[in-house]
C-alpha cells in the first residue's frame, strides 16, 4: 500500500475525515510460557514493551491482542488488567501479538489540529506574500502532502516517498469532496463526513493513484 492515509481538516482545524489504507508490517505474534521474559509497562493507556527486545518484538511495541482477542487499552477484552493477567502462571501458555500501536481517533484529532496550527505558523514565517502554506512534510518512511483550498479546507495525504501523482490525487479528493459530501443535502458543512459514497469514491481514487504512480515501491 503506497498511500497510507487521508485526512481532511476543516477551517477551524478540526478533523472531519480520516481513512487509513495500510497494514502495519511490523507485527509479531508469539506464544510465551511463564515467566514472561519481556518487561512491560503502562504508557498512555497502553501496555508497551520497555525491555527485552527480540524476534521482531521491539521496545515501544504495544500489546495488540492476547490469544487472538484484541485488547482494550490496558485491559483484556473481558476487562482483566493485562499486567496482572500476565503475572499469573495459570494463564500460560499465552499467545501475544505485539506491534506498533495504532493512533486512536482522539490522538488523530489532536494531531490534525496541531498540524493546522503548524500550517498557520508555516505561512506566517514565509518571507514572501501569499505563500501556499506547508505543501509537503518529508521523512524517511513517508511523505505528508497537504493542499489547502481557498475556502480553508485542508486535504492531507500520507504516502510512500516514492509515490508520485499525489498533487493530482489531492485535487481529485477535493472534487470527490465537492461531489459526494457537499452535494449530499444531509451533510452539514464543517462536520465529520459520514457519507458512504464519499468513502467508496475515495477508496477507488486511492487505488487508481497507487496503480498509476507506483514505480518500484514494494507493497
Amino acid at each position: 500500500m503506497a498511500i497510507f492515509s487521508v485526512y481532511v481538516v476543516n477551517k477551524a482545524g478540526g478533523l472531519i475525515y480520516q481513512y487509513d489504507n495500510y497494514v502495519p508490517r511490523a507485527e509479531a505474534e508469539k506464544t510465551f510460557s511463564y515467566p514472561l521474559d519481556l518487561v512491560l509497562k503502562i504508557h498512555d493507556e497502553k501496555v508497551v514493551v520497555s525491555f527485552g527486545q527480540r524476534d521482531g518484538i521491539r521496545v515501544g511495541h504495544a500489546v495488540l491482542s492476547i490469544n487472538g482477542v484484541d485488547v482494550i487499552g490496558k485491559n483484556t477484552a473481558d476487562g482483566k488488567d493485562i499486567i496482572e493477567y500476565l503475572k499469573d502462571a495459570s494463564n500460560y501458555p499465552v499467545s501475544i501479538r505485539f506491534g506498533r500501536a495504532r493512533l486512536s481517533s482522539n490522538e488523530k484529532l489532536m494531531l490534525a489540529s496541531m498540524f493546522h496550527s503548524l500550517f498557520a505558523i508555516g505561512s506566517q514565517l514565509s518571507p514572501e506574500v501569499g505563500s501556499s502554506g506547508i505543501e509537503m512534510l518529508e521523512t524517511d518512511v513517508f511523505k505528508l502532502h497537504c493542499y489547502q483550498t481557498l475556502t480553508g479546507i485542508k486535504f492531507i495525504v500520507l504516502a510512500d516517498p516514492r509515490q508520485s501523482g499525489i498533487d493530482a490525487l489531492l485535487r481529485k479528493i477535493y472534487e470527490i469532496y465537492s461531489d459526494f459530501a457537499l452535494k449530499n443535502p444531509f451533510y452539514s458543512l464543517e462536520m465529520p463526513i459520514r457519507c458512504e459514497l464519499f468513502d467508496q469514491n475515495l477508496k477507488s481514487a486511492l487505488e487508481i493513484a497507487e496503480k498509476a504512480g507506483n514505480f518500484g515501491a514494494g507493497s
Binding site: 508555516g122 489547502q148 481557498l150 475556502t151 477535493y174 469532496y177 465537492s178 458543512l189
Partner: protein
C-alpha cells in the same frame, strides 16, 4: 451533435420547471412576496456555500487579486459553467467596489410571466443568495441585489454587486492579513 443539444434543452426545461415549482410553493407557503424573497435568498446562500467548492475544484482558478478579477471570474467562468450564459460586467462605481452583471437571458425565467399580485416578487433571488454565499466562503462579504428584472418590465436583467469587506475571522490559516488587501482602481 443534435442529440447533445436536445439533451441540454431537456435538462434546462426540467431545471426551469423545478425552479418554478419551488417559487410557487414558497408563494403558497408564505403568501408574502418579501418573505418569499428572503427565503429564496436563504436557499441560494446554502447552495452558494457548497457550490463554491465545486467551482474551485473544477475550474482551478486561483485567488483573485482584486474585485475586478472577481467580477470577471464570476461572469466569464462561473456563470458559464453553471448556467451556460456569460453576463457582461459594467457600471463600475468610481471607487471600484460596485459593479453590475447584465444578463441578456436568464435560464431561470424561460417561459415565466409574473402575475399582478406578485409585483414585488424577485423571482430569481436565489441567484443573489448563491453569489453571496459563495463569495462569503472565500472571505468576501458582498451585497447582491437585482437592479433590473425583465420579469418586471425592464429591458435587461441587472444584478448589482457591492463589495462590503473582507471577512478576517474565517481567513484560511496563513493568509497574510496585512498584505492581502483588496485593490480598487
Amino acid at each position: 451533435m443534435l442529440m447533445f443539444c436536445c439533451c441540454l434543452l431537456q435538462n434546462s426545461e426540467l431545471f426551469t420547471l423545478t425552479y418554478g415549482a419551488l417559487v410557487t410553493q414558497l408563494c403558497k407557503d408564505y403568501e408574502n412576496d418579501e418573505e418569499v424573497n428572503k427565503q429564496l435568498d436563504k436557499m441560494g446562500y446554502n447552495i452558494g456555500v457548497r457550490l463554491i467548492e465545486d467551482f474551485l475544484a473544477r475550474s482551478s482558478v486561483g485567488r483573485c487579486q482584486d474585485f475586478r478579477e472577481t467580477a470577471d471570474v464570476i461572469a466569464k467562468v462561473a456563470f458559464k459553467m453553471y448556467l451556460g450564459i456569460t453576463p457582461s460586467v459594467t457600471n463600475w462605481s468610481p471607487a471600484g467596489d460596485e459593479f453590475s452583471l447584465i444578463l441578456e437571458n436568464n435560464p431561470l425565467v424561460d417561459f415565466v410571466e409574473l402575475p399582478d399580485n406578485h409585483s414585488t416578487l424577485i423571482y430569481s433571488n436565489l441567484l443573489c443568495g448563491v453569489l453571496r454565499g459563495a463569495l462569503e466562503m472565500v472571505q468576501m462579504a458582498v451585497d447582491v441585489r437585482f437592479a433590473q428584472d425583465t420579469l418586471r418590465g425592464d429591458n435587461v436583467t441587472e444584478i448589482r454587486m457591492k463589495f462590503i469587506k473582507r471577512i478576517e475571522e474565517n481567513l484560511p490559516a496563513g493568509d497574510d492579513q496585512e498584505e492581502r488587501k483588496m485593490v480598487f482602481y
